[in-house]
């Protein structure tokens, strides 16, 4: 394929990835920002979202759209509740000690993953997209007889992929409004600034933490529900989202929501774009190394304050 269209396609793909990644990473970042702990089980909450989506759609049957909308609402809710419970039962009891939390959530990771294996099984299952028409895309070129439009071979996307991008943006605006405009958002930001003071002002910090942990997981699950019609639900699918969200959160600057969003788009896109220039595995290698190096020479991330 010619370079131009190839690049455009890669960027389109990157954008879809970035959208899902943004939601997932946002969850991780929220948890880190407010609670100052790293949730290693985050990827498994993502996986649960996907698995639940499959389960809900296959239980409901009927037209794809109905099941999908149901999944879009129910799956994040259930995952959020589960995470909240986990926080209440485990993290609260180890008083959110950063290192112990990491170990505990590694444990949680295995528990969720293995219970899924025992119940849902080892196979990958697809979820039918509510709609999915192939859209061929045009390309413009300055030919000998002026500016002309043509339809390059293979340059296309699907209506659903576009929907994913839109849905992600809508969710982002929602989260932003929640944080910036509502009382709960105010409380969250207060807790983020200084949990002791917040406590002193009568904010039930423990409950807030459970809520935040739940919200974080729910965001991951939401991202997963959006992605299952493109990929499939599988009990090992949590690893990559976890790694990528980690990267995004760090690059974006721990706890900085704005940074997280920018970084997610950056990472998602670069993954697509780098793949244009290198063989796939080499691309992955370089991308990983690149991020590691960014961290080494700018530990506070690209957008984070030195303090982070």
């Amino acid at each position: 394929m010619e370079f131009g269209p190839h690049l455009m396609l890669a960027m389109l793909e990157g954008l879809v990835q970035a959208s899902v990644l943004t939601l997932t990473a946002l969850g991780l970042s929220l948890v880190f920002g407010v609670m100052r702990v790293v949730n290693v089980a985050h990827g498994e909450f993502f996986m649960l979202g996907a698995v639940l989506a499959w389960w809900i759609t296959s239980m409901l049957g009927g037209p794809a759209a109905v099941g999908f909308i149901a999944a879009l609402i129910v799956a994040p809710l259930l995952v959020g509740l589960l995470a909240g419970a986990a926080d209440w039962l485990i993290l609260r009891r180890i008083d959110y000690d950063p290192e112990r939390t990491i170990v505990a959530t590694i444990g949680l990771l295995y528990i969720i993953q293995q219970v899924t294996l025992m119940t849902y099984g080892p196979d990958a299952h697809p979820v039918a997209p509510p709609f999915n028409t192939r859209l061929a895309l045009p390309w413009f070129e300055w030919g000998e007889n002026g500016f002309q439009m043509y339809w390059p071979w293979g340059l296309s996307t699907t209506s659903y992929k576009l929907f994913v991008i839109v849905a992600a943006i809508v969710t982002l605006i929602g989260v932003w409004l929640l944080m910036a405009k509502t009382k709960i958002g105010l409380i969250l930001r207060a807790t983020q600034l200084d949990s002791e003071i917040a406590q002193a002002f009568g904010i039930p910090v423990e409950r807030i933490y459970a809520l935040v942990f739940g919200m974080g997981a729910a965001l991951a699950a939401l991202g997963a529900v959006l992605v299952v019609p493109i990929q499939q639900a599988h009990y090992l699918m949590g690893a990559d989202p976890l790694l990528l969200s980690f990267i995004v959160v760090i690059i974006g600057g721990l706890g900085s929501l704005r940074g997280t969003v920018v970084a997610a788009v950056l990472i998602g896109m670069s993954d697509g774009i780098i793949s244009v220039f290198f063989t796939p595995t080499l691309a992955k290698m370089l991308a990983t190394l690149l991020v590691a190096m960014v961290l080494v020479y700018r530990p506070q991330g690209l957008f984070g304050a030195k303090a982070a």
Binding site: L9, T116, G121, D123, P126, Q232, T281
Partner: protein, 427 residues
């Protein structure tokens, strides 16, 4: 929370457990006449219950238990029942080796058998040799015939990838096209396809115009497809792992109406239902099959028997859950291996672990395996020198969402010069 929601899945799991129990504790009375020898022959079964290979492992286990039941119902081996001692290897080489030690030293198994993924086989094989325990693998890897392993490791149930791939080349070149783009996973299994097929297709006057290796953990593929050259006549795809379905879907979405000929290894869709939405575009494309998943018009009695024994319907899915599609193109290897072990043990007059080397020699002596209930996939030729079996391969076309066999390769298509002679190695 989830398990309540998955009755069918649970039924299968418990169902499997039941079969497992049935074979694990054979009805001893039936063997009472055999007197002192009625103690069971223990076969250690290394199975991918967890990890990336679990989807295959589940079906390997069902097939194995079914075959064991057939063997026991027919009076076992040398008048003794066989007992399958299954241990999960987690699809991990280290655990695989540990499991072999467990078979040999704790369970007191006579032999070890099973497992698909090459890295587990290669990680375990050295231990098998050190434990002097015969190790029958069902991995379709070239590692056995390549001479990398040892005299205790044999693959008598399934043709290796080198032979499979080589057998495809003539038909592909003469029926689909000569300019080929290969898409394969960027690890050893994929590299085998890349190397062996490139070689074979060039021998047919064709050429591989592009080789696209996909990193193992990849979950979205569209961004790689632009690397497919315009003049490609055939796309050759072989993917494994949980994201295979995405791969095939996105391939379809990428090309839309104007796709080149597509030839795939059914590995890309093992355990996946062809009726899945998004796979329509595969209609009319071709696949390699180790054994035809869908019942063919000319179905043999042997295939009928085999399906019935495991509980598989005419679409290659579980009879108790038509959505639960089997890994039909590979799992026959377990069935046939067990029967080859039976033949070997009977030929060797196998009594106990002191006869292990006799067993290996007996199996090495086997050549022809006629098509039968024991070998439902087709007549095979076993090469005792390379410890590798050679069987027919099937090329099927997707018609009406079903795979219909168009061509069956001859054994000769898959032959290649020996790369090792294990029989010259001492025990």
């Amino acid at each position: 929370m989830v398990n309540k929601a998955l009755p069918t899945r649970r039924k299968i799991l418990t169902g499997m457990a039941a079969v497992g129990a049935a074979t694990a504790l054979p009805d001893v009375t039936r063997f009472a006449h055999a007197g002192s020898h009625s103690a069971p022959i223990k076969i250690g079964f290394q199975v991918h219950r967890t990890g990336i290979g679990a989807a295959y492992g589940r079906w390997y286990e069902r097939t194995t238990n079914a075959a064991a039941k057939v063997i026991n119902d027919a009076g076992g081996i040398n008048g003794r029942p066989i007992e399958i001692v299954a241990e999960d290897d987690g699809t991990d080489p280290k655990r695989g080796a540990e499991v072999l030690e467990k078979f040999a030293n704790q369970h007191g198994c006579d032999i070890a058998y099973g497992t698909l993924f090459s890295h587990v086989v290669i990680g375990s094989a050295p231990r098998a040799a050190e434990l002097k325990m015969p190790y029958f693998v069902v991995s379709e890897g070239h590692h056995v015939a390549s001479g990398m392993l040892n005299r205790y490791t044999l693959q008598p149930g399934i043709t290796d990838v080198k032979s499979q791939v080589q057998a495809m080349a003539p038909w592909v070149a003469s029926n689909l096209g000569k300019k080929i783009t290969m898409i394969y996973p960027d690890f050893a299994f994929g590299h085998n396809h890349r190397d062996f097929f490139s070689e074979a297709i060039e021998a047919q006057g064709g050429e591989v115009v592009a080789k696209i290796a996909i990193p193992p953990t990849e979950a979205s593929f569209t961004k790689y497809f632009p690397k497919i050259p315009r003049d490609t006549e055939v796309i050759y795809h072989v993917m494994v792992g949980p994201s295979v379905l995405t791969f095939v879907k996105e391939l379809g979405e990428f090309f839309g109406p104007s796709a080149p000929a597509i030839f795939g290894f059914v590995d890309s869709l093992e355990a996946v239902d062809f009726a899945t939405p998004g796979l329509e575009f595969l209609e009319g494309t071709h696949f390699w099959e180790g054994m035809p998943r869908y019942v063919q018009p000319n179905q043999t009695e042997y295939d009928k028997f085999y399906r019935a024994a495991i509980g598989i319907d005419e679409n290659g899915a579980s009879v108790d859950d038509p959505k639960d599609v089997s890994t039909y193109a590979h799992m026959f290897g377990c069935w046939e291996t067990l029967f080859t072990i039976k033949d070997g043990m009977e030929a060797a007059g196998y009594k106990g672990i002191e006869d292990r080397t006799k067993l290996i020699e007996a199996v090495e002596a086997i050549t022809d395996m006629p098509e039968s209930n024991e070998h439902p996939q087709g007549a095979k030729l076993f090469n005792g020198k390379t410890h590798q079996v050679f069987g027919p391969q099937y090329i099927s076309k997707v018609e009406g969402g079903k795979l219909m066999v168009k061509h069956t390769t001859s054994l000769e298509d898959g032959f290649y010069p020996d790369e090792v002679d294990y029989t010259t190695q001492s025990f």
